[in-house]
Symmetry: C2
Subunit: 190 residues, 2 copies
DNA sequence: TTAACTTGTTGACTTAAGTTAAGAAGTCAA
DNA sequence: TTGACTTCTTAACTTAAGTCAACAAGTTAA
C-alpha cells in the first residue's frame, strides 16, 4: 500500500531514503463502504485523502439538485477546500465504491514539513502541477459544447462512465441528465 | 513599488525582515505598452509576472477564434503553464493596457527557495489558495447559465467590463459576442 | 479626408439544451 | 414476490444560444 504513494510522489521528485521514512512514518489508512459520506455540507474538515483504491465524488446541492464537482480515483488527492479552517464545507464527499485511502491532516503535515523540508517543496510542485491541469480543464470546458465535453471525457476517463451514474456525469458536464441521454443517442447514430 | 508585493504576500504570512530582504533582493520590473504581447503560442517561457499596474489577458486560438482564458489585473500573478519547461506555450499573453510587472523566473526562484525556505512554504500556501479559488470558479461556471455567469462577473469584477472588449468578455464567459449582446439587452429590459 | 477595419447591435433562422411528464427496466428491501 | 425507488429514455414543447448576414458607430491609417 505504502508503495503506491511513493510511486505517485516519485513522478515529481527523487525519493530519498529520508523522504521514504517520512512518508512511512505518517502513513495512516482508512476504508470506506460504497455510499459512505466522508464530508457533509456544513461540516468542518481536518483530513485529506490519497486514494489507493476506489472512487470519491464531490458535489453540492443547488436548487434541490446534486451538482457534481469532481470525481477522484486511484492515485489522486482529495483536499477539502476548508481543511484546517474554521469555515464549514460547501460540499459533500461521497464514496461511489468501496474505497481505501491514505489519510493526512494539516497538523501532521506541518509537522512533517518542519522535519522534512523536501516534503514541502514537493507539495508546492504538486500543487502547481494540479493547478495547471485544472486550468487546462477549465479552459477546455469553456470553449467546448456539451457534446465535445462528453467525447473528451470518454477519451480521457472512460472508466468513469462505468463507475458513476448518468445523472452524476451529466451535472459534471454541466448539463441535465436528459440532455446527456440525447447526446449519447445522437452519437450512436453517427 | 516593492511594497505592493510585500502587501500581497502579507495576506498569507508574517513578513519577516529576512523575507523582506529576499523579496527586495530579487525585485526586477518591466513595463509594457497596451497591445504588447508577452508570450506567443509556440514560444518557450522563462518568466512569470506579478502585476503592479495594468491588465493582462491570456488567450488561445481555436477555429480561427480567440478564446480568452483569463484576465489578470493588479496584485495578481501570471504564471505561464510551460514556464521553465521545454514545451511550447499553448497560448498568448497580451497587455490590454499599459502594464507594469514584477518579473520572476524559475532559476532565480529556486535559488531563493534554497536561501529562504520560508519563501517556498509561502509559495505552497499561495498555490493552494489559488487552486481552491479556481476550483470554486470552475464549479460555479459549470452550474450556471451564460446569463448567470455574466451577472456574477458584473458583481465580482465590474471593472473588467471597462477594460476588455465585449468579444473578449464573451469568450471568457464561454459564449459568442452576439449572445452577450443579447443578454445585456435582455437584462436592461428587466 | 477618405477608406479600411474594429466593435457592437440587430434580425432571421437553425440547433440544441432545458422543462415537464410519462413510462420502461433494473434494484432493493419489506 | 411484490411494491417502492432509482436510473435512464423518450416525447412534446419552450427557451436561448449559435450562425449568418447586414449595418451603424467609432477608430486607425494611408
Amino acid at each position: 500500500m505504502k508503495s503506491k504513494i511513493l510511486k505517485y510522489l516519485s513522478k515529481y521528485t527523487e525519493i530519498t531514503e529520508q523522504l521514504e521514512n517520512a512518508i512511512n512514518e505518517s502513513a495512516y489508512f482508512k476504508s470506506y463502504k460504497k455510499g459512505d459520506i466522508l464530508l457533509k455540507e456544513g461540516d468542518f474538515s481536518n483530513e485529506c485523502y490519497f486514494i489507493l483504491e476506489g472512487c470519491i465524488r464531490s458535489y453540492f446541492v443547488k436548487d434541490g439538485e446534486e451538482k457534481t464537482i469532481e470525481f477522484y480515483t486511484e492515485e489522486e488527492v482529495v483536499t477539502p477546500s476548508n481543511i484546517g479552517k474554521s469555515t464549514p464545507s460547501q460540499y459533500f464527499l461521497e464514496c461511489l465504491e468501496d474505497t481505501v485511502v491514505n489519510v493526512g491532516n494539516p497538523a501532521l503535515e506541518n509537522e512533517m514539513y518542519q522535519k522534512y523540508p523536501q516534503l514541502e517543496s514537493l507539495s508546492r510542485v504538486i500543487a502547481e502541477v494540479i493547478l495547471t491541469k485544472q486550468q487546462e480543464s477549465y479552459t477546455a470546458f469553456k470553449s467546448s459544447t456539451p457534446e465535445e465535453r462528453y467525447l473528451q471525457l470518454l477519451k480521457t476517463r472512460p472508466n468513469l462512465l462505468q463507475r458513476a451514474s448518468q445523472y452524476q456525469i451529466a451535472s459534471y458536464l454541466g448539463i441535465r441528465p436528459e440532455s446527456l441521454s440525447r447526446i449519447r443517442k445522437r452519437l450512436i447514430n453517427k
